[in-house]
């Protein structure tokens, strides 16, 4: 089981901020493919991953990264702090 979090417009497009899912996806990219295949709203939200960022266990990472041992995956648009 893995916690998947969504923020900002991604959260709005998918319609929830957090969900716990069962997955065997070896990498972030594979997880995104699984999510896309689920429902239209996921497919639309993850249409262009170049406009998205990913964090694994609260550290910025990338879409090629392995999910082995990861408990929390977060997807979000580029940050606008400050």
């Amino acid at each position: 089981m893995i916690d998947v979090l969504y923020f900002a417009w991604l959260r709005e497009r998918i319609g929830l901020g957090r969900e716990r899912i069962s997955t065997q996806a070896p990498t972030v990219k594979d997880l995104v493919d699984e999510l896309r295949a689920r429902e239209e709203r996921y497919a639309l939200a993850f249409e262009d991953t170049s406009s998205l960022r990913v964090a694994l266990d609260q550290e910025l990472s990338d879409f090629d990264a392995p999910l082995d041992g990861v408990r929390e995956v977060a997807f979000f648009p580029p940050m606008t702090g400050g």
């Binding site: 550290e59 940050m79 606008t80």
Partner: protein, 151 residues
């Protein structure tokens, strides 16, 4: 010191208290970010964040600043939640023996907070609502800290 909070704060009070009573400091530099409403259409700015990662990411940036410059103290306060035009969003303060380190470190902290701290701003206007898009130049601003590491 780092604080991530929804409550408002007074940057003047924070600055007065910052590095108070220390005699090894010759320079204090601060930056305050304020909700801007240039076109007079903004009603509210909503700032979303990623609890947990926000604190981790900012702490990392502060540690990096302390590694690069000889700083006596560093302060970051960043708000989240619903803010009105004119309200203070965040502040950064740096203290060091000499001004160059304090200026550079404050500049570095702001560049990284913009693009590496997990906050997302949403502008709720009279007629429309939109997420603030990250700017390419904000991302590019990080390059100047990686291409030639400051002393």
């Amino acid at each position: 010191m780092l604080r991530v909070q929804s409550d408002s704060f007074d940057p003047g009070d924070e600055l007065s208290a910052f590095a108070k009573g220390r005699h090894d400091i010759g320079a204090v530099v601060s930056f305050t970010g304020v909700v801007r409403d240039t076109d007079k259409t903004l009603k509210t700015m909503e700032i979303e964040h990623y609890p947990g990662m926000t604190e981790r990411a900012i702490s990392k940036i502060m540690d990096e600043a302390r590694t690069r410059w000889n700083l006596a103290d560093v302060l970051v306060i960043h708000r989240h939640g619903a803010l009105q035009p004119g309200e203070v969003i965040m502040m950064v303060a740096t203290a060091s023996a000499h001004r160059a380190a304090a200026f550079e470190a404050a500049d570095f902290l702001m560049d990284y907070l913009k693009s590496r701290a997990p906050f997302w701003k949403k502008e709720i206007g009279a007629n429309e609502t939109a997420w603030v898009a990250a700017k390419d130049e904000d991302e590019a601003a990080l390059d100047r800290w990686t291409s030639s590491p400051p002393d």
